[in-house]
Subunit: 334 residues, 2 copies
DNA sequence: TTGAAAGCGGTACCAG
DNA sequence: CTGGTACCGCTTTCAA
């Protein structure tokens, strides 16, 4: 920048103003500068700019598992929204490990990002205190914390659980089991939706019909597979299973088929997430669509507005509506 | 930092040295400073540091599609390797669009990242010139450019193609088709492996047996599905198909089954990538393992060594060996 | 419409 | 072992 200024007999200030297209610059001067910038393929140094403005034009995203395509889709939606305002996205996969997640929060915080987005696996809100202290705007994605006022974007998990369960009921299931997820709001919500649906239809919950996968954020397949084997040992055996997410459902399907049973005739299965490979599975999987991309986009917009806002605004909660995508695994059985 | 220095009656220089644990600091002083740092939960401002050292401690990764789990796995392996040296990773998904990719290269370059990693969809090496001009070390991932000396980490695609094709031959296929990928080195290599394998076994290539998916980096399923429908119209019809990647293979499987044919009895199918859901597909898919995570890890290490090195080293090419993972879709047919 | 001076929060280099 | 000084590349403020 200094070079450009010198070459053109201008001051760095003038050049700087042209770059940020400040209004009070002579048209002729502006063109000369612009021309030279193109020629040199000059790019302003963001680090220097960040140092003085305090804005880095980058945001951070922490997810439990990037390989889970739900989060990958959220990430894409997000990065799309941010890109338009020339923000970049730092992504960190915490491997479903709360400690690692805390470390990553710290690391990203030290980078003075303009905002943070987290699909958290924490059990307490402890780690968000540090974010608040640093006054970095943040939004929770997919998973929220009750009683903590924070920005949030996700689907209505209670509705998701209810919809899934009612769908099973509507195709004729009478004994519906639920394989729940990790200790996160999503799992709690879906479970509650499940319970609500059973209650509404005056269906009883059989003993042992609600069980948890070991580590549902990673190794979901194994969790689902193991859990289903337990369910198969129960008497009476369930005739429908609502799974916390699709990867678990895949493990469930495999376990059912291994046992020589049919889907959906013997047991119907529904998952949650509507992942892209669902329709090509051994038994095409019915699922609850979570609008992953929309979540990313909405979160992106929210975060941008948070950054623009000078005054810290009232935390906002955006709840998207889930919907059923029926496939073979819950084809009407009766 | 200034505050800490003042409070403790030291200079900022001393504090700075403690932070970077410089050797020449009195033990007592060091402890005092460290204590205060903890208390204040002080985090050095990376932007400021970057400005003077010229190192941002962050690297960029550009992939064609983050939802393709191959790239998600690479990203995780990478971020793992970098994290250990406290580097952060900026990830950008270019949606299979070469123009967007170029823009992203520019954007990331302006952030003065310490290194760039790209799984490129470019057809020319043009865009890498700008990276080289800025003297930013970069590593090509998965896809390389012949005749361009650049750092590269990926699998041996020719071997992958050969292995896959020979596997089909070994299970009894006689008329093997290939659905190739986009105009990238991976597709070229796998195709070459396919051709080599046929030649070695003195098998003829039937007319129209090599065809390309429309847009293999995104919408792979559609590409595979369409291509397979064309293949099914040929006479003689192929009895084995080697697909550029697994998502394509999924579309292929679906098309074959829709036509009322059996896999592998009528047509055997093999893909490439060994994605986690392969085993749970309608027909469990045989595939060539691409060692996605290992690619990420190796690339991470390479990139770190590049950053450490003061002198630009001789470009290094790391080629991992692929291997066959046989499943139901190629169970011996004879 | 333009530019000089003063930092942003650190680090490098050398002198004490 | 400790610290003064200059300066990284840019923006901000204010005067010309």
């Amino acid at each position: 920048m200094k070079d450009i200024a010198r070459e053109l007999g201008l001051s760095v200030v003038t050049v700087s103003k042209v770059i940020r297209n400040h209004s009070d610059i002579g048209e002729e001067t502006r063109q000369r500068v612009l021309k030279r910038i193109k020629e040199l393929n000059y790019q302003p140094n963001m680090a220097a700019r960040a140092l003085v403005t305090g804005r880095t034009y980058s945001a951070g995203l922490i997810v439990p598992d990037l390989v889970h395509s739900f989060f990958a889709e959220v990430a894409i939606g997000l990065s799309d929204a941010l890109r338009r305002k020339s923000y970049s996205l730092l992504i960190s996969s915490a491997e479903g490990d709360p400690d690692l997640e805390r470390q990553e929060i710290k690391r990203l915080l030290s980078r003075r990002l303009d905002a943070l987005m987290i699909a958290s696996t924490q059990t307490t809100v402890e780690s968000f205190r540090s974010i608040e202290e640093q006054k970095v705007p943040y939004v929770l994605i997919d998973r929220c914390f009750l009683g903590t006022p924070a920005n949030f974007v996700g689907v209505d998990d209670v509705a998701a659980g209810r919809l899934a369960t009612e769908h099973l009921i509507s195709v004729g299931c009478r004994r519906i089991a639920h394989i729940r997820g990790p200790a996160a709001s999503t799992a709690v919500g879906r479970l509650e939706g499940y319970v609500q649906a059973l209650a509404r239809h005056e269906m009883s919950q059989c003993e042992g019909y609600i069980l948890a996968g070991r580590s549902a954020d990673v190794d979901s397949w194994v969790s689902g597979h193991e859990a289903m084997k337990k369910l198969l040992g129960l008497d009476p055996r369930p005739d429908g299973v609502f799974c916390y997410n699709d990867p678990i459902a895949v493990g469930v399907i495999d376990a059912i088929l291994e046992a020589g049973l049919r889907i959906p005739e013997d047991i119907a299965v529904i998952g949650c997430g509507n992942l892209h490979f669902d329709r090509s599975l051994r038994v095409p999987l019915s699922s609850v669509d979570q609008q992953s991309r929309a979540i990313g986009e909405r979160a992106g917009k929210l975060v941008l507005s948070l950054i623009e806002a000078k005054r810290p605004a009232q935390p906002k909660s955006i709840l998207l509506e889930p919907n059923i995508v029926p496939r073979e695994s819950t084809r009407r059985v009766a």
